[in-house]
């Protein structure tokens, strides 16, 4: 598609909203928001699975953003837990409306993330991965030892379902009743779409390019005046916000939260979804989450071999598509966001073979 664009196009519009793409996305959104719920209206199970997948994608989007600045983030479970507890405590003890809890949970998580991030984001590579992994464990244990405030081991149960959202007396959203999965599905779908738009905008705007420049070379980025520390924290805080909101959703969806609700395993899974979908694609975490969640469900019929087959599938996926499932949709040798190298051969100034210093 780059060839069709004027040569001076930065290619930042790659995921920007051109007409053709808009149509495609509208179609996808339509399938997602209308076709799927109508098709499966009868089936709580499928709607439930899709709801899970949606919010898991939503949470993983945050991890994806931290990948965009070149950090392997294994702390997302911690922030989902923080968000979940924020919502649980606010709603059960202070009767705060779910619709207020949701953003608040995100903000609390983001605030905590920002403070911690300032300190730990100096680390890179495996060291950052490990410190975030420790963070997940530390937060879990902190809630377990939180005494009366977190109700320690007994967790917080009977969290109210989302109540009616009313503005000036007129009801925008009716209260959620029973375990009818449809409202949850639509809420999850809406969140995911909003999340996607946000991340999409983030990565296609110049901020995204600042992130990318930091991932490719932090020293160089600093040398041209980019406040690397600041943008790292922005990215991480944003990630934590998504984690917090997701945690709050599940707290209200399952109506309970325990310290064990999110463990290292969850943090690792959020990371896996990004990897499997593809780190270079905004849709990566979404594809990854939906495929892993759904394939696990599909494999139930294999009974005791389920886990094994699941593992084998994942490994083969890694071996054949280490750059993520979405790397299928682009030709080899293409750069992130699907930009293609200029078709015209590059004239070599010295007229000598490339990269041969004298």
């Amino acid at each position: 598609m780059r060839q069709t664009m004027p040569a001076s196009d930065l290619g930042w519009g790659q995921l920007g909203l051109t007409a053709a793409r808009l149509a495609g996305l509208a179609l996808l959104a339509l399938v997602y928001l209308v076709a799927l719920p109508v098709w499966f209206a009868g089936s709580n199970y499928i709607l439930g699975v899709l709801t899970n997948a949606s919010i898991l994608s939503f949470i993983s989007l945050g991890v994806w953003v931290t990948f965009a600045i070149g950090r392997i983030n294994i702390s997302q479970g911690a922030f989902a837990l923080i968000g979940g507890y924020t919502a649980a405590i606010l709603s059960t003890r202070h009767g705060v409306s779910f619709w207020l809890c949701l953003p608040l949970a995100g903000l609390v998580a983001a605030a905590v993330g920002t403070i911690i991030g300032i300190a730990i984001l100096r680390l890179r590579g495996v060291y950052f991965a490990m410190i975030t992994l420790s963070l997940t464990e530390a937060v879990r244990l902190a809630f377990l030892n939180g005494g009366a405030f977190t109700q320690g081991a007994s967790g917080i149960v009977n969290i109210p379902r989302p109540d009616a959202l009313e503005i000036f007396g007129l009801t925008i959203i009716p209260a959620f009743r029973g375990a009818d999965p449809l409202p949850y599905y639509f809420l999850a779908a809406t969140l995911l779409i909003l999340g996607l738009l946000a991340v999409w905008r983030l990565t296609t705007s110049r901020l995204g390019w600042v992130f990318r420049s930091m991932r490719q070379n932090e020293e160089l980025a600093a040398s041209i005046g980019i406040n690397v520390a600041k943008y790292r924290v922005i990215a991480y805080g944003f990630s934590c916000f998504l984690g917090g909101v997701g945690g709050a959703f599940f707290a209200a969806f399952h109506q309970n939260i325990y310290p064990a609700t999110y463990s290292v395993t969850d943090s690792v899974n959020f990371m896996l979804y990004c990897f499997l979908g593809g780190l270079d694609f905004v849709f990566g975490p979404v594809v990854g989450a939906f495929l892993l969640v759904i394939s696990f469900e599909l494999l139930h019929d294999l009974q005791q071999y389920q886990a094994l087959i699941y593992g084998i599938l994942m490994i083969s996926c890694i071996l054949w598509l280490p750059n993520g499932i979405l790397s299928l949709t682009f030709r080899r040798g293409q750069a992130p966001e699907g930009e293609e190298e200029a078709a015209a051969p590059v004239p070599d100034p010295s007229g000598k073979p490339r990269g041969s210093p004298t």
Binding site: L123, Y127, M130, S134, L135, A138, N145, L319, S327
Partner: protein, 286 residues
């Protein structure tokens, strides 16, 4: 008090042994082997079957366990790791491979060995008393054997040709290539030895602590903590990390409520890494 010291020593030895294989692999391939704990678990099962079920000599079992895991390690490096590193566009992707392997090994073990906890009859019996502190013979045996293994590995990387080659690779791949070392073979060898060490740790500790197919992740996390403390990729660092964690745990459990101990360990680790990201003896950024 004496008991705390003895506990610390025993624990330190166990932990150093657990961390050793992980740090070796990380040093040579800068690859964080998430499957480390699963390899530990496999090692334990090999010893369980050879020693407890087929009733062979314990040391034969250890040997079998080391060989099995060595083969697994080499196979993994040559068949999986190289391929992925070759065709991947971002080296982070090796982390995906690591996690995937861990999952695969764990589920494989669950299908093969079942869900039950497994332990082996004691190799040696009896309990010694040192200055009023209890030290069971079984733990003493583990202590001695781990110490021997640790020393053995140190000598190996110091004084043998392949050992020195490994150190060289760990320092600088390009230069080593120029020196005409077959980096590919060294990497495979390193991975094999790393895996074998993980297996031996499992094979030794199964005599005092038993294993089940799901124990891997918890072991890995412990190992991660230790190499982070000591400095990833440095053999001596892993040993140091083991000693630090071992004594912290021994002292912590003795003095403060158990549930807080590990909270403090993790918080401490985070703060420590913020102050000194490369660990006690590691090189910055691995």
């Amino acid at each position: 008090m004496e008991q705390i010291i003895v506990n610390g020593v025993v624990l330190a030895a166990n932990y150093a042994l657990i961390a050793l294989g992980l740090t070796l692999i990380f040093g040579i391939l800068s690859f964080l082997n998430f499957a480390h704990g699963q390899m530990y678990m496999l090692g334990g099962f090999v010893v369980y079957y050879v020693y407890a079920i087929f009733g062979m000599n314990y040391f034969v079992a250890l040997l079998a366990c080391a060989l099995t895991l060595f083969v697994i390690g080499v196979a993994f490096e040559t068949l999986f790791f190289r391929r992925v590193l070759r065709i991947t566009t971002r080296e982070e992707n090796s982390m995906l491979l690591a996690v995937g392997t861990a999952l695969l090994l764990e589920n494989l073990a669950l299908t093969l060995f079942g869900e039950k906890q497994r332990g082996v009859p004691p190799v040696v019996t009896g309990v010694y008393q040192i200055f009023g502190a209890y030290l069971p013979a079984s733990r003493l045996l583990v202590l001695v054997l781990s110490a021997l293994l640790v020393i053995g590995l140190l000598l190996f990387v110091q004084y043998t040709k392949p050992g020195r080659a490994m150190r060289a690779v760990a320092q600088d791949k390009e230069v080593t290539l120029l020196m005409g070392v077959n980096v590919g073979r060294i990497s495979a060898l390193g991975f094999g030895i790393g895996a074998a060490l993980a297996g031996l740790a499992g094979g030794l500790l199964v005599t005092t602590s038993a294993i089940n197919s799901g124990i891997g992740t918890a072991i890995s996390i412990k190992a991660f903590i230790m190499i982070m403390i000591g400095g990833a990729g440095v053999v001596a660092g892993a040993i140091l990390g083991g000693i630090v964690l071992g004594f912290t745990e021994a002292i912590g459990y003795a003095l403060i409520p158990g549930s807080v101990t590990y909270l403090l360990i993790f918080v401490g680790l985070i703060i420590f890494l913020i102050i000194r990201p490369q660990g006690i003896m590691g090189k910055p950024w691995g």
